[in-house]
Symmetry: C2
Subunit: 456 residues, 2 copies
């Protein structure tokens, strides 16, 4: 392979943006386990999901067979606003590491939401609009997903109601203002708008909220408001489907320039980025057409793959959402307060969980000071200040490249750079000041998270 | 012209990035007036500038004759990290405005510094490194230029000492932490490091600083530290030269796709972005080869072109820097505290000042609520949250496009979108809350700024 002929940044032409999403479930022998109704513990039906989700999104959620699903033209038009995203040859990083490895990264941060979340947000907003809905609800922690959905709803003229964890609403006002600029209604959670919010405010006066509570409020608001549905930015099968655009573009760029990755690396929280990036490569692997090492990287402080159990669990702390079979730390698990950035979900995409259980991918966990060390090194040579989440993948990519330096192997590594760290500078400040600490939960800590999981 | 065949985002190939900067002074009949030594009131010589600036940058500052100046290979390599920047066809904005006008914008915000400032920062850092210097100093307000210079210095392994206005250092810590992540030494100004800082701290205990004071400290630190020089991000001829990369790429993209702008619009503070964007177009105009309407847009609260005088003035409040002949509100002028974002410099690039005086360009001023209205409209349809500075150009472009709607004219408009607003969300919050106010200085206010200008 002649790496000299590859541009530093590979931008596909606009007509090379894929016009279908790839549904990796179609090529899985062991399909992901279905979502269960938490009341009946039976698989959720289309009709049971209808009050919560848009019809077409339910179809996508349940479709384990169709490999290529057309991207609606209106979504394709929006994609052209910020896609194709570049596949960057990390020549400056390679030089700094003095490694024979060839490193590429797919950069999803060049849009105002600052991450890959927009890929699914625009699809979900489109299907809500196509169904004639008036608006959608969602929850957000620091605000990455809420920002993406606000942008998407603004484009289609949909109302967007975001329940934002109160402590973030008050202490991290910047993404809140981006959402408001895009016309979203942002409510600190727990609020007095919903029954569950009022209940929690009454039981815990002065609480600053949690993601679990915000999810419960958003779902309640959706099912109780005519013309509204709830939308979610990770974990679900539909989200991985939409995020396959990342991997499809990456694969197209690789094929165009003859790049054949040996190792593909992504950070893993709920799995939306990793699942999207690896989809077409995993498809080849599942069909026996090619082999790749695929590595999920998760925080040591929230290690669902590496220390969780592969069981049915509630998707939310408040137990109002469906149950999913996934690697989980237990719906009662909350990562330590000093954990920076996202990747704090207790569970993992059921698709990725099944693939991991079946041995198609590896998983590792890394500690956050090592992550920020990699982030800083990367920022200084590649010019992009990475999101803390993405920096987990950077850490692993650098580790693999350094192994190549030891062995002399010229491996080709691709990793997903999901977003930028512009709204995470409090974490960078802690790292710069030397006050950032690592946290690895003890087995006792983890055991607490499992309280209340039914034994199924 | 067939606009259907133009991609939504025009990315030049990497080998189409210009390898020379264009020096518009070479084509000016009336050259910009030279910088004066504030002591002798005589033109500054190369030798007088040497303690402050790098040698090669002084040569560029003084060179009014060479039209094409080669971009050093190391700078070209760095440019490939984030360039070419896209020339975007604003189809979503055109549709929202229902205008027959064709609108394009050159987007310079897709890099971690968040603006075009990096184009000159990397050149200035390179020449410092090439001269064997140890480091550079500079000042920064909110931090856009300081961030860019920190990134550039990190790349070349140079020390970077940034004097940051104390109130920004304390209240706007995010860009400070970006700079620290890139290894810069960031000092709140006024500090106790410099004689001028100690003097100001003594005279005004508890002062939160000003840009003028930070400039004075940075210059003092540069001239008093062996192996250091001072670098500046706007106003100077050398900066406009480096920023011509914006216009050169824009012109190349226009020529490639047969786009012929009728109107070119840029925001104007010190002039670095506007000067860069218009350079090659202005060159054609100066040589009589083509005609374009060129419009500078400045804030009504800091109206140097539209209400300033074209005279020699001090470049800094502290009067330690050279004097420049420029449109100026007086070195004592400080814009109202409610003025959001940059574009707050009291003067204007001497090159642009001369071109404006000679009738080659127009200037208008706009009020900030109208600017944020345009910013919000743009963000919602084009997906990019614009910097307040850039939004001045958006306001003017929308106004021109609406005029076309009235007249039915199919004019082609290009404007410079210099950066993103991710670090300006306090201003967006004020706009979202309806608490943003406009401020137009009275003639009496402006008269105060002129106190102390020598009558030359």
């Amino acid at each position: 392979m002649n790496f000299e002929n590859i541009p530093y940044k590979i931008y596909l032409d606009e007509n090379e943006i894929p016009n279908t999403w790839y549904n990796v479930r179609a090529d899985m022998k062991n399909k992901p386990a279905p979502l269960l109704n938490p009341g009946t513990l039976k698989p959720l039906t289309f009709e049971e999901m209808q009050p919560i989700f848009c019809d077409e999104l339910i179809r996508q959620e349940l479709d384990n067979d169709t490999a290529q699903i057309p991207i609606p033209e209106e979504v394709q038009n929006f994609y052209r606003m910020y896609r194709p995203s570049p596949l960057v040859h990390a020549v400056f990083l390679e030089k700094a590491l003095d490694t024979p490895a060839h490193i590429f990264y797919k950069f999803e941060g060049n849009n105002t939401s600052g991450s890959h979340k927009l890929n699914s947000a625009i699809a979900q907003a489109y299907y809500a609009k196509a169904q004639g809905l008036k608006g959608v609800t969602t929850e957000t922690g620091a605000g990455q997903w809420g920002t993406a959905l606000s942008m998407a709803c603004s484009y289609f003229g949909l109302d967007c109601k975001v329940y934002m964890v109160k402590v973030s609403y008050e202490q991290k006002p910047f993404r809140r203002e981006v959402m408001r600029t895009y016309g979203a209604n942002v409510t600190p959670s727990p609020s007095m708008d919903t029954a569950i919010g009022r209940k929690i405010n009454e039981e815990f006066p002065g609480t600053t909220g949690s993601l679990g509570c915000a999810i419960s409020e958003a779902v309640e608001a959706a099912v109780s408001t005519p013309g509204y549905r709830y939308e979610l930015g990770s974990v679900l099968n539909q989200v991985l489907l939409h995020q396959s655009i990342i991997g499809m573009e990456t694969k197209t760029a690789c094929d165009k320039y003859g790049i054949k990755p040996d190792i593909i690396i992504g950070c893993a929280g709920g799995g939306s980025n990793l699942g999207g990036l690896i989809s077409p490569f995993m498809g080849e692997k599942l069909r026996g057409e090619a082999d790749y090492r695929i590595i999920a990287v998760e925080p040591a402080s929230c290690p669902s793959f590496t220390r969780g159990k592969f069981v049915y669990d509630f998707a939310d702390t408040g137990k109002v959402c469906p149950m999913a079979k996934m690697y989980t730390l237990g719906h009662g698990f909350i990562p330590s307060a000093n954990h920076a950035g996202g990747l704090r979900y207790h569970g993992m995409s059921p698709v990725l969980s099944q693939l991991y259980a079946d041995g198609y991918m590896e998983a590792i966990s890394v500690e956050q000071t090592a992550v920020f060390e990699a982030a800083t090194q990367f920022a200084r040579v590649e010019g992009i200040l990475p999101a803390p989440e993405s920096s987990h993948a950077i850490r692993a990519a650098i580790n693999e490249a350094l192994k190549c330096k030891e062995t002399g192997e010229e491996k080709t590594i691709i990793f997903g750079l999901t977003g930028t760290g512009y709204f995470d500078l409090k974490a960078y400040e802690a790292y710069n000041n030397g006050t950032m600490v690592d946290y690895i939960p003890t087995d006792e800590d983890l055991a607490k998270g499992f309280a209340g999981i039914p034994n199924i």
